[in-house]
């Protein structure tokens, strides 16, 4: 194997921060990353992955949290012969102090490759590249310092929350608190895969959905409110004075004609028509705010395309109050898991099971009353069951 990696080197150039530069920094300390760079070059040459299919590795007592990975040509790339990743669960909202971060870095430089994904797209800290032997020591040391693994395999994956009350004025419930509580409550389900397949929980504080819960979690909590949004007319005037075109940019784009400019005042003339889309609030954050009777809408069933095409979550509970100890929410989730666990086939996500058994059967099983908010439209076909 040539040591030159011209194609990879090309990606050191350019204005966007370079992962190649990062690889090279780590390569200074870690032979594995030296090989990793060569593996990347080889992929570029051959236009193919150089990694083998999985392999079951892990740490004691856990069923998930580690993705096994072996290179296709260990003779050529001995330092990445085994190059597993470890998923380390994050503090809700991805808030850190530098002490914690430096601790992780030190542990990882000691045991692993020094390369990470900060973060992975589920939300874990991905420690990228570890030998089989070093998995347990890495874990042990992380655990001692208050870190734990995230999910992988047929378990509950690391739940995530938008920054919410941490920094956002629109948070309709305590996303961080809820997700931390859920994560702690369900450590068992997170670490020891008990289900037919993976399952995900995400919480966004308002319908802007900044963790994309609706697109990628089997159980999505999205903040909302039941009363009227609040308007500060003085602030409205300020926007108008600054020549912000309220009519064109805000009023005309309300999806339900709920809000109107009436003699210079911005009025929620049809409060019952507001579908809390956030648009007017987004555009005039100083003047408009969500209501005060806040909570969440619970939606279920989002997932990526495999096998029946991607699915977005669908409304299950139009409104629920979200307050510690979150009993009602947890009970609901547990009921859903139970139904899924009992009826789901291997590798069948919740959405696929709902599709197979039918939404009415699902509602019946989890004892939730149907309501029109669950659907965009009632059925068009005449094929329904009785009895």
């Amino acid at each position: 194997m040539e040591d030159k990696t011209p194609m990879v080197d090309e990606l050191e150039k350019g204005p966007w921060p370079s992962y190649v530069k990062e690889l090279k920094r780590a390569a200074k300390k870690h032979d594995s990353v030296k090989d990793l760079i060569k593996v990347q070059e080889r992929s570029f040459q051959r236009k193919m992955t150089q990694w083998k299919h999985g392999g079951i590795v892990g740490v004691k007592g856990y069923g998930g949290g580690v993705i096994g990975r072996y290179v296709q040509n260990p003779e050529e790339f001995p330092n990445v012969a085994a190059f597993h990743t470890m998923r380390v669960n994050h503090p809700s909202g991805w808030f850190y102090d530098t002490k914690a971060l430096r601790t992780i870095c030190d542990i990882w430089d000691k045991h692993g490759s020094g390369m990470t994904n900060f973060h992975g797209s589920t939300g874990d800290i991905i420690l990228l590249g570890c030998t089989t032997e070093e998995l347990q020591p890495t874990f042990d040391e992380l655990s001692e310092h208050g870190f734990d693994l995230g999910g992988s395999g047929s378990d509950l994956r690391s739940p995530t929350a938008c920054v919410g009350p941490g920094r956002c004025e629109w948070a309709c419930f305590d996303t961080l608190g809820l997700i931390y509580d859920i994560t702690k409550t369900y450590q068992m389900e997170l670490h020891r895969p008990p289900y037919p397949y993976k399952t995900k929980i995400k919480a966004s504080g308002c319908p802007n959905d900044c963790v994309a819960a609706i697109a990628r979690s089997d159980f999505s909590l999205i903040g909302t409110w039941r009363d009227n949004l609040r308007i500060d007319q003085n602030a409205v005037k300020e926007y108008a004075d600054k020549k912000f075109d309220i009519q064109r940019l805000v009023v005309a784009k309300c999806p339900t004609e709920a809000i109107e400019l009436v003699k210079g005042k911005l009025e929620l003339t049809h409060p019952e028509d507001c579908v809390r889309c956030m648009h007017c609030i987004n555009l005039m954050p100083k003047a408009i705010r969500p209501g005060v009777d806040t909570g969440a809408t619970i939606l279920v069933g989002a997932k990526a395309p495999i096998i029946h095409g991607a699915v977005l979550s669908t409304v299950l509970i139009p409104f629920i109050k979200v307050q510690p100890p979150y009993t009602e929410i947890k009970q609901l989730w547990e009921k859903i898991m139970e139904w899924w666990d009992e009826n789901g086939k291997t590798r069948e996500r919740l959405a696929e099971l709902i599709d197979r058994m039918g939404m009415p059967a699902f509602l019946k099983a989890i004892d939730v009353e149907p309501c029109p908010q669950m659907v965009n439209t009632p059925r068009a076909n005449p094929y329904f069951f009785w009895g």
Binding site: G166, A171, N282
Partner: protein, 360 residues
């Protein structure tokens, strides 16, 4: 014996003081310039945020660099966004410019904020690619780097977009990151049937399980009973890789066949229009490392056509919904190959059952 199941650290211990004090009591925010936000609390307290771009795949030294900045200006606190961007939080306005300077010195761009009028492009949600995954039909970090080098001005706000625009990439159609609802998604795609390793099959896989894994029933037992393996029907295989997930003897990687597809027009937020899926507009572009010029040019071109044609505040999918897909293809000058017409399970609902359409 080491402890297990300790769970992640309590986020509350990680919050800077100004957040602890004003937790859940924020009043409004302003975007001061690309990458810089001010949040004001009911109490009157202010919180400044500086957001930087990151390649996601970073070394521990990178994280230590960030820590240095945070120690210096943010009382040792920072966070990351749901799109991998580090954010520096400080109650002190005067710290903002120094933070930016330090970040720029580290080679990190500041930007990625905003929506509606004058939106920046944020970071690319992406996956493992050839750096780590066995299933990748394309790379991730490499192609993202090539893309962001070209789209850099959109991140730092030198060029702006009509509305929030989310670019995402997944290296196979498992679509890690759930990028199926992105304004623009680049997806690694195989276009050749699995290359069966009969030896491995015998050793590692159960034939009924493998056959059952195929959603299109393309897999059947090898006709030769002496070969304890399977064959794949070329006319039925849609290169989904589901068989490979359950059986290592069925890799799909193929230097000629692999590449990416481009999907556009998805969104996640509920603002104005409900969330939407991204739709395939280019079914195949070749893998051409290290800079994937075909992919980069196509994505850039789509950005430009969008920026030139959409109305202020209109997400890509909202724009296309307004003008119609036929107009999108006309404006972008992209061909309309038959692969774009759905023939999967819910295909029926994508057909045009009206005489309403544009000549273009």
């Amino acid at each position: 014996m080491c402890p297990t199941d300790v769970g992640p650290p309590d986020f509350k211990t990680m919050l800077p003081d100004v957040i602890k004090k004003n937790y859940g009591k924020w009043k409004y925010h302003e975007i001061l310039k690309p990458g810089v936000m001010k949040h004001v609390a009911e109490s009157g307290d202010e919180l400044y945020t500086v957001r930087a771009g990151s390649p996601k795949l970073v070394s521990t030294d990178f994280i230590r660099d960030l820590c240095n900045v945070a120690d210096k200006y943010c009382d040792g606190h920072l966070r990351f966004t749901s799109r991998y961007n580090p954010e520096f939080l400080t109650p002190k306005k005067e710290n903002v410019e120094p933070i930016i300077k330090e970040l720029n010195k580290l080679g990190l761009p500041v930007g990625g904020t905003g929506s509606g009028p004058g939106a920046c492009l944020s970071n690319v949600i992406h996956t493992q690619g050839w750096i780590h995954c066995h299933g990748a039909a394309s790379d991730a970090s490499g192609i993202v780097k090539a893309l962001m080098d070209e789209l850099y001005d959109y991140f730092v706000g030198k060029k702006t977009l009509p509305a929030k625009t989310r670019l995402s990439l997944a290296c196979c159609l498992n679509m890690c990151g759930a990028i199926h609802a992105s304004d623009v998604a680049v997806v690694g795609m195989h276009t050749r049937i699995p290359n069966i390793d009969h030896e491995k099959m015998r050793a590692m896989c159960e034939i009924p399980t493998v056959a059952a894994s195929c959603p299109t029933k393309a897999i059947r037992r090898h006709p030769d009973p002496n070969i304890k393996s399977v064959v794949v029907d070329e006319t039925k295989c849609m290169y989904c890789g589901n068989c490979f997930t359950v059986c290592p003897a069925m890799p799909l990687a193929n230097a000629e066949g692999d590449g990416v597809a481009i999907f556009v027009g998805g969104k996640v937020s509920n603002a104005r229009k409900p969330p939407m899926f991204s739709r395939v507009v280019v079914p195949h572009l070749p893998n051409n490392p290290p800079r994937w010029p075909e992919v980069v040019n196509t994505v850039k071109h789509i950005f430009e056509v969008y920026a030139d044609n959409a109305r202020m505040g209109e997400r890509m999918g909202e724009w296309i919904q307004r003008v119609g897909w036929e107009r999108f293809f006309k404006l972008t000058d992209l061909p309309f190959p038959v692969q774009l017409i759905d023939d999967f399970e819910l295909a029926r609902d994508t057909f045009r059952s009206t005489t309403q359409f544009k000549w273009t």
